[in-house]
């Protein structure tokens, strides 16, 4: 079967562009055609930017025609989660409170991609302020999973995952605070990479939980994830938590064999609540790793069971502090009408501007940080965070890579868990520990369940060892050779 331009990876498109077999304008047209064909149903994009994109593609073609050096990012259509600021392009965070906010600056992650020649096709829908696991918490309506439009794409970066799965963009950026890149990647059948905390600058990432927030990538291949990370990684003086350490060449060793790689299967991640099809598919993928020569053993993360509890104290606590900035004064919504004073205006603005999940987390965090409860909740949660980090340190003495399912389930139906916050939070049970510890992790498609929905396997590596993570993920991806394509695209 000949694959159309819209089905190619970034690396394939970049090679065609370099060979003069296509142009940035043609590549963009393929993305645009997909957007026109499916986004009315998928609803991945909150703010498409077709005009900006075509101007940019024209500029690029003109620039490349001079024989100028071509970056691997040049001409690649990219979508950005709408929590990343874009100068002059509306950035809503999926919230009424920022519905008309037009940032006066670019996020560093976008500055880097854009500087390397990426073409912005639009800003993607997401759970409000990145709080959610299904994209149902967006103030602008849900995103529909390209594999089954009645199901969620996962969240919170659901629009970014769906856009890449459907070929509306070749690459996308998301953010991962408790699994918000990896879980939607798993549910949409694409590759989702959450690098080490601090590897990519958070400048211009509108904050949810600052000690956990990590920018991550959506691609249709592991090699492309490495290519994106190559451009994104590195120190940024504008983010004091960004790491000032050298950036290795992520593509250099990605094709190397994994014989002798020590792979630990996280035993706790195959228990209650994990769908049998998910467990079976992930176990089969582990067998492929063993067949490729990996040295597979059983790993334990004994405190992972407490990670979810710790997360739902730490993340809301940081959220309640970060979201205090939405006060109706400097930007964003101000509640209409006369206000007796500024304090009353703030109460009304925040009451009207935030949706139910954001209010829930602000309340939870405010409570957990309040006098008399701080030590019992936030203080104890920070200790559990230490225990989770120690678990990883112990596991990584014995193993190079840890594996588990990314999510306990495949995509569920829109509305199925909407009224049960605890059930929703359990979606992130396998992804949260990596955020608490700051370690890099990736979700790679490993199969389909019996109704044809994608399943993802999560690989996790020690701090800053993205190179090994990508190598292992690439070896598995190549061996499985899935080439997933949602049925929605059959006639496209």
């Amino acid at each position: 079967m000949t694959r159309s331009l819209g089905d190619l990876t970034g690396a394939e498109l970049s090679a065609k562009l370099a060979a003069g077999e296509t142009s940035a304008i043609e590549i963009l047209a393929a993305s645009q055609a997909r957007i026109d064909a499916v986004d009315g149903d998928v609803r991945a994009l909150l703010t498409p930017t077709p005009q900006l994109a075509s101007e940019r593609a024209e500029e690029l073609d003109a620039y490349l025609s001079t024989g100028a050096p071509q970056s691997p990012v040049a001409g690649i259509p990219v979508a950005l989660k709408d929590v990343l600021t874009t100068n002059g392009v509306r950035t809503t965070c999926g919230s009424k409170i920022l519905e008309t906010y037009v940032p006066p600056y670019d996020a560093t992650a976008w500055t880097r991609l854009s500087g390397a020649g990426a073409v912005l096709v639009g800003k993607t829908n997401c759970d409000e302020f990145a709080m959610g696991s299904s994209n149902e918490n967006s103030a602008f309506g849900p995103v529909h999973n390209p594999w089954d439009l009645e199901r969620v794409p996962g969240g919170s970066s659901g629009g970014s995952a769906a856009a890449v799965a459907a070929g509306e963009a070749v690459w996308a950026l998301g953010t991962d605070t408790g699994g918000s890149v990896r879980q939607p990647a798993s549910l949409c059948g694409v590759v989702g990479l959450k690098p080490t905390y601090g590897r990519i600058s958070r400048y211009g990432l509108i904050a949810f939980a600052s000690s956990l927030d990590t920018i991550g990538t959506f691609t249709r291949s592991v090699r492309d994830a490495g290519a994106m990370l190559q451009v994104l990684a590195g120190h940024d003086p504008r983010d004091a938590t960004s790491l000032d350490v050298p950036v290795p060449d992520y593509g250099a060793g990605i094709d190397e064999a994994i014989a002798g790689l020590r792979v630990g299967v996280v035993t706790e991640a195959f228990g209650e609540g994990v769908e049998p099809a998910v467990a079976a598919s992930v176990r089969a993928a582990v067998e492929r790793l063993a067949a490729l020569g990996a040295d597979v053993g059983e790993a334990a993360l004994p405190h992972a069971a407490y990670a979810l509890s710790a997360y739902y104290l730490i993340a809301p606590s940081e959220c309640s502090s970060n979201l205090a900035r939405y006060d109706g004064v400097r930007y964003g919504l101000r509640a209409a009408g006369e206000h007796a004073d500024s304090i009353e205006m703030m109460f009304a603005t925040r009451g009207q501007g935030f949706g139910p999940e954001v209010k829930r987390r602000i309340m939870l965090g405010t409570y957990a940080l309040s006098a008399g409860y701080y030590e019992a909740y936030y203080g104890q949660a920070q200790k559990v965070r230490t225990l989770v980090i120690r678990d990883y340190e112990a596991a990584f003495e014995r193993f190079d890579i840890l594996v588990s399912p990314t999510s306990p389930t495949t995509a569920f139906r829109i509305g199925a868990k909407a009224d049960d916050p605890m059930a929703m939070y359990l979606n992130d049970i396998f992804t949260i520990p990596a955020n608490l510890a700051g370690v890099p992790a990736i979700s790679v498609p490993c199969g389909l369940d019996d109704v044809g929905l994608p399943i993802g396997i999560q690989l996790t590596a020690p701090i800053l060892d993205e190179a090994t993570l990508l190598r292992a993920a690439h070896a598995l991806e190549s061996d499985l050779g899935l080439n997933l394509r949602p049925p929605l695209l059959a006639g496209v």
Partner: protein, 97 residues
């Protein structure tokens, strides 16, 4: 057991206007979530130090160099109410007397 919370007090701390229905829902939901979250106390022993950030950094300094800042018009462009070169707000202090 679900945790009981003084929702009105917490909402006041958070500067969050809530409807009666929201208050009732939040009381039930937060009680349930906190019951689960309280499990952190089962394993967090006294001798375990807290972690605030996964990769601790302290005293991140930069050179004190003056760079161009955002022009006033840009900074005020998103404000709900502009008052000259300032943000406009409703009354913030008692007046008169």
């Amino acid at each position: 057991m679900p945790v009981e919370i003084d929702i009105e007090h917490v909402a006041k701390l958070a500067r969050l206007q809530l409807s009666e229905e929201e208050r009732e829902q939040l009381a039930a939901q937060l009680g349930q979530i906190l019951e689960h979250a309280a499990r952190v106390g089962e394993v967090a022993a006294d001798d375990v130090p807290p972690t605030a950030s996964p990769i601790p950094r302290a005293n991140v300094f930069r050179e004190d160099v003056i760079e161009p800042s955002l022009p006033v018009d840009e900074a005020l462009r998103n404000s709900p109410e502009r008052d000259g070169d300032r943000f406009g707000v409703p009354r913030i202090a008692e007046t008169g007397a």
